[in-house]
């Protein structure tokens, strides 16, 4: 059977109206698993603990808050840290990224899907190695978001 994106989208909208949490379907060639969002936002980052004093970086003169943001897989595929045949990784821990910057690729068959930073930040580390297969929504890397304090909020 041919599964197209429209059909999957329709299945997802049906699923959203039910109490079914997870739906798995497959035959010998294809498998499809739909899981309902457990109510949490896709890329919700843990709240930075501001009560426990300013984060380490707040001491630096630029006065920045730190928040960990995960970059997750938008599809099932293989994580690539660089475009095929490239000698240099797109980012490495410590790389500074801006919103929309390409931080990795996800290979699904011959297709390459972008993994982009949603926020300005610094690459903190990878949760998977280049070449590893990843599941939908699996965390691939984390960024330390860098956001300047609003005026008047300086520590």
């Amino acid at each position: 059977m041919k599964i197209d994106i429209q059909r999957i989208a329709r299945l997802m909208s049906w699923l959203a109206d039910t109490h079914i949490h997870e739906l798995e379907w497959g035959d010998d060639r294809t498998s499809l698993r739909l899981r309902r969002d457990p109510g949490q936002s896709l890329r919700q980052a843990p709240e930075p603990d501001r009560s426990a004093g300013p984060p380490a970086r707040a001491a630096d003169p630029e006065a920045q808050a730190i928040e960990r943001i995960h970059v997750t897989a938008s599809a099932v595929g293989r994580f690539l840290d660089r475009a095929p045949l490239q000698s240099q990784a797109l980012v490495t821990p410590g790389s500074r990224v801006e919103p929309g910057d390409l931080v990795g690729l996800l290979q699904a068959g011959p297709i390459l899907l972008p993994l982009r930073a949603e926020v300005a930040g610094i690459v903190a580390g990878h949760a998977v190695q280049a070449g590893e297969a990843v599941e939908y929504r699996q965390v691939i890397m984390s960024l330390e978001a860098v956001a300047a304090f609003a005026e008047g909020e300086e520590p």
Partner: protein, 318 residues
Amino acid sequence: MIRWCSKLPLSSVQDLGRHGHLASGVGTSGAMDQLALMAGNLLLGNAPELAGIEIQMFPARCRFLQDGRFALTGADCQARLNGRLLPPWWLARARRGDVLEWFPPRIGARAYLCLPGGVDVPPVLGSRSTQLRGAFGGLDGRFLAVDDVVKAGRENDEGPADFGVEPPQSAMPQEQKGLPAIRVMPAAEYDAFSAAARATFWDSEWRLSPQSDRYGCRMTGPSIRLEQPLEIRSHGIVPGVIQIPPGGQPIIQLRDAQPSGGYPKFGAVIEADLWRLGQTPIGSRLRFVRVDYDQALQALDENRQWLDRLACHLAMYI
């Protein structure tokens, strides 16, 4: 619709070539890397045979005159859209006024720009390829020049963007003793070369000389000599044919080859590997690997399968 902004020559409109007119003296022309052109078209949902722009000299630049998607394939030129780096083999969206730039390739030699609905120039003798020798086809039968406006076949372009495909260099790598390999079939005068000359051809490293262009490329390496002088009349030749002139350095006919020649033919680069030669940078080394006719057909089949699989996967995204 785009405006060409590059002063450097050698960029031209090409499709898969003008076939069936060799007998009238009209060469095929066509993209030097046809896999790249077809993949770029598939990314946009175009028919694979539509025309695109082939870029051979860098840096190159164009400006979008309206919103729309575009696909970049072929050589990895660290292309930038308004200064922002685009991955190689990528489908992206531009806004009116955006500037797209290509830089000297890190991998490969020729870059392709595909537009929605293909590049819209009138077909001549069934093809939109630029026939440079005859000065027809493509855009006025010539290379693109500053301020040329190139129209896309589909003006109102909708559809997804921001994804790419794995280049065939990565999906179908081909090496022999540590060097890129090009598959060759022996041709009509193969047996007129000495056994030693034949062995030398297959065993040696060859370098693509600077005397190489869309018409043909000269290979630099050991001298390949005939057993004894051979005079043959001019006869029909096609892209891929490897001629050995008296100097002993092979000449490989490419897409803009003239349809006849008189040098002895040692072999022919198989159709399936012409794209590899088209992406070989001047000065780089390669080896030739001997194949037979069945293997040549099988190689063509593998290229087709690569494209079919790509089209099949893209159908889920576009």
